[in-house]
């Protein structure tokens, strides 16, 4: 039986070279996310903003959005959002906190029930008061912060500190981009969205750890290989697994988006975005960070220079390596000028793989 392979065999993509593109690109996306968050805002659900959501189903026929809107405007409950979704008989009403405390919230639900109860069945009623919504915001934020600290600590013990820092930067990146996603799409942000964010944090770290684990293994095995090359080799080795897992999780989530119903749709959509971002960041954000953080001491990188083995040890390797540390600010146009910048995969087809990806 011929088995399906999504990832090509034995890839040799020089991933580390992309960091000159991926870093500015991610920085830009992160910046956009922050700008969106500040100026466009989030569509906070009642969990965090307080207020009332009522899901209605017409007892017969379809839900008339315009009638419902006219009817609810008469109730004077402030701004009322009337939406339809899925089934044409269904509609949701959402309105904000009422002046006059918790009793007023309850009174507002009663008003709606009295006005719409004859023609509509109230399938779901959720009322969240101001104090509760504040607490939910606090515990949600605390949860995200705590999980990052906890995982940072774990990684610190388990790996070198550079790994932990790289993983946390990648995770923060994913977090920012997810917030940007919520702001851009205006998907409702509620307690299940916090669950989505924490799961994305978990998934992102999961991805990162798989890559880091391999890097650590390679680091011990190829003591003399330049860092960037060694990282490239590691990422290429785990690439089939990365693609495979992202696909299975994506398939499961896709099924949740299509069939899982209204309540968890925003959760599932955010998660799908999250696995893309997490997969990207584990390769293009976390791993290159190790180079910048100086994963190996200079001696390890330099030690290989006087020992040209059967690996293609170019004479410029040493300057390239040290140049590597200073490339953070180097113009991108400088890259093609030096055809053998030293960070080549060790094998004979290194020359072939380069133009493919440059």
């Amino acid at each position: 039986m011929k088995l399906l392979r999504l990832a090509p065999e034995n890839t040799k993509f020089p991933f580390m070279r992309f960091r000159r593109v991926s870093y500015p690109f991610s920085a830009l996306l992160s910046l956009i996310s922050v700008v969106l968050f500040i100026f466009h805002g989030m569509n906070f659900g009642i969990d965090f903003a307080g207020g009332t959501v009522i899901e209605l189903r017409a007892k017969s026929g379809t839900a008339e959005i315009s009638t419902l809107r006219a009817l609810s405007e008469k109730l004077e409950l402030g701004e009322i959002e009337v939406q339809s979704f899925g089934n044409p008989a269904d509609a949701t009403l959402r309105f904000g906190l009422q002046a006059g405390g918790d009793a007023a919230q309850q009174a507002a639900v009663e008003k709606v029930r009295a006005a719409a109860g004859a023609d509509y069945e109230l399938r779901r009623v959720e009322v969240v008061g101001p104090r509760v919504s504040n607490e939910l915001v606090q515990s949600g934020t605390l949860g995200v912060v705590l999980s990052i600290i906890a995982v940072l600590t774990y990684l610190w013990f388990r790996f070198e500190w550079q790994f932990a820092v790289g993983a946390v930067i990648a995770t923060m990146h994913d977090l920012l981009l997810t917030v940007g996603f919520f702001s851009l799409t205006q998907l409702e942000f509620n307690t299940t969205s916090i669950a989505a964010i924490l799961t994305i944090v978990g998934y992102s770290l999961n991805e990162t750890v798989v890559v880091l684990d391999r890097i650590r293994e390679m680091m011990r095995k190829y003591k003399k290989m330049p860092t960037a090359q060694m990282i490239d080799l590691s990422i290429n080795a785990v690439l089939p697994r990365t693609i495979m897992t992202a696909t299975t999780v994506f398939l499961a989530l896709l099924s949740l988006v299509v069939f899982g119903g209204q309540v968890i749709r925003s959760f599932s959509l955010a998660m799908i975005w999250g696995i893309f971002v997490a997969t990207y960041s584990s390769v293009f954000i976390c791993s290159p960070m190790l180079i910048y953080l100086g994963l190996r001491n200079e001696d390890a990188d330099k030690a290989q220079a006087p020992s040209p083995t059967k690996e293609p040890a170019k004479p410029e390797r040493e300057p390239a390596t040290s140049g590597d540390e200073s490339t953070e600010l180097a113009p991108v146009s400088a890259a093609p000028k030096t055809p053998s910048r030293g960070k080549k995969p060790p094998t004979k087809n290194s020359g072939r793989s380069k133009p493919k990806t440059a």
Binding site: I194, V249, L253
Partner: protein, 529 residues
């Protein structure tokens, strides 16, 4: 790698079988389950999975004791106490007793008078044990110009709020039980909140109405035989021992009761009793009734149920007395809670409400099931076409993995919510990750020119470290979600965490066992991977 002890194989198969057995009752149709449950003794009734309110329909209501109202009552009672002390000590003051937001103040011009009443005022705090075992409920201050100020402290208010929550829980439990719904749950949350969860309720308005009522406590005489039936009504007894005839006339109202505390009979037996105290109006009425009716039963009626009917032994004219009746400590405690509940009904505000109708709940179950079947189907097919026979092993492990999650939910008595179903679907996608890690590693090792056995061995060994590391991080996220989340989100965290734990058993050990058995019989020359 390939030598698998027989006991290990048996243990794994046994666990799988046990998990399937635990899950089976939950998968049965409702009539089939009931038929089974009827034939079994009560203790052997198999547990089924508990559905969250979002799936079975029902109401979740969070109530908060109105702290300001509690403080207000406390200040009013304090004023009464101060007035009583002034009268007992025959102390004159200039002006009245001024009430403020947090206490009272009065001007006592004579230093000698102040010396008389200050210890009395301070003794109002006696017997108080704060939450941390310290603190005073009241603070008594004396200014140079004869101004005496008594203030209720934060600890004092919190203590009363906590007591108000205790007594409200008792009252709410009685009322919700009267609704006759399945398994209502009433819990304290923090200092000042109560969470009421009632599944499968058709009319949430009814629930809110009964939660909103203030408790009604009355003292009425138990009717004598042969009394005019128009003056008597039959009331239920709270201990379930049937009905009892009670006079319709209310002798003393609960609102005149100022306190009730459990204690021990100091004169005689030392057995648990309930001490109670009335205000001036209540004391007067109570004195009259007890003087005229010595020997009769005096019923304490809460929300139209008789909670106790002690015999009047002697007239009680001082306003405070004692109920004894061979109580256990717990009984005395409960009775005093109920008395206080009627005496100081706490005002409860609904701060959060989530009600899901039964129709929507069923729709959510259907949607969740469909998503789970399709999601699992897609993953299974994908694994098959990618890994062939190894995909079959992964899929079998996946099946057991799902059975383990459900068994875990049943055994933990954890609630399955809609986000919980999402968590399970998500772990379906993630569970195969461990298999993928192992398989890809095996492939790689084989590619590097190792023998079959060495590839298998290295694949499992090397992938295992990665699996543990990556799952620990995910587990940390799930654990934090559990401790900080509420309701449905907690359900998600539990599903996720269970999924992560079981994946170690299913994806690693089970898969290895299956591959070992397969290898034993197939003797492949090259791994089809």
């Amino acid at each position: 790698m390939l030598r698998f002890a027989t006991w290990k194989i048996i243990a794994i198969l046994g666990m799988t079988l046990a998990a399937l057995l635990v899950v089976a009752p939950s998968m049965m149709s409702v009539p089939a389950y009931q038929a089974l449950a009827e034939r079994l003794p009560a203790w052997a009734k198999p547990p089924t999975i508990v559905l969250g309110l979002d799936l079975q329909g029902g109401s979740y209501v969070m109530l908060e004791v109105d702290r300001a109202a509690v403080l207000h009552t406390q200040v009013m009672n304090l004023r009464d106490d101060v007035r009583r002390i002034l009268r007992e000590e025959k102390v004159a003051i200039t002006g009245g007793i001024g009430t403020q937001l947090r206490g009272v103040q009065l001007r006592v011009p004579e230093a000698a008078d102040r010396a008389k009443i200050l210890p009395k005022l301070r003794s109002l705090s006696a017997g108080f044990t704060g939450r941390m075992g310290g603190g005073q409920p009241l603070e008594v201050e004396e200014s140079a110009d004869g101004l005496v100020r008594v203030t209720v402290t934060d600890a004092g208010v919190t203590d009363k709020v906590r007591k108000a929550v205790d007594q409200s829980i008792e009252v709410i439990r009685r009322r919700v039980d009267a609704l006759g719904t399945r398994e209502p749950s009433i819990q304290r949350e923090g200092d000042d909140r109560i969470i009421v969860q009632v599944p499968g309720l058709q009319d949430p308005e009814q629930l809110k109405t009964i939660l909103g009522q203030t408790a009604k406590l009355e003292f009425r005489l138990v009717a004598d035989p042969g009394q005019n039936p128009t003056e008597v009504e039959e009331l239920e007894q709270a201990d379930g021992s049937g009905k009892i005839g009670i006079e319709k006339q209310v002798m003393v109202q609960g609102e005149d009761l100022t306190d009730a505390q459990p204690g021990f009979d100091q004169q005689r037996s030392g057995e648990p009793v309930v001490n109670f105290r009335f205000n001036i109006r209540g004391a007067q009425k109570f004195g009259e009734v007890t003087s005229k009716n010595v020997g009769r039963l005096f019923a304490i009626v809460l929300d139209n149920k008789v909670i106790s009917a002690p015999r009047i032994l002697t007239p009680i004219t001082g306003g405070s007395g004692q109920i004894s009746g061979h109580f256990t400590v717990e009984q005395a405690n409960n009775l005093s809670i109920l008395l206080r509940a009627g005496a100081l009904p706490a005002k409860l505000n609904i701060v959060e409400e989530r009600t899901v109708g039964p129709g929507l709940g069923q729709d959510s179950i259907d949607a969740g099931k469909r998503a789970a079947y399709v999601g699992a189907g897609l993953v299974v097919v994908y694994m098959l076409i990618t890994y062939g026979v190894f995909g079959v092993f992964a899929n079998l492990a996946l099946f057991v993995h799902i059975a383990f999650i459900f068994a875990g939910l049943v055994l933990l008595g954890s609630t399955l919510t809609l986000p919980g179903i999402a968590g399970i679907v998500l772990t379906i996608g993630m569970a195969v990750d461990s298999n993928v890690l192992i398989y890809e590693r095996i492939r790689e090792e084989q590619h590097a020119g190792r023998s079959i056995l060495a590839s298998l061995d290295a694949g499992f060994k090397r992938a295992f470290a990665t699996i543990v590391d990556s799952n620990v991080t995910m587990f940390v996220a799930a654990a934090i979600l559990y401790f900080l989340g509420s309701g449905p989100v907690r359900g998600f965290a539990v599903s996720l965490a269970l999924g992560i734990l079981t994946t170690i058993i299913t994806a690693v050990t089970m898969t290895r066992m299956m591959i070992a058995i397969w290898y034993h019989y197939a003797r492949p020359t090259r791994l089809p991977i």
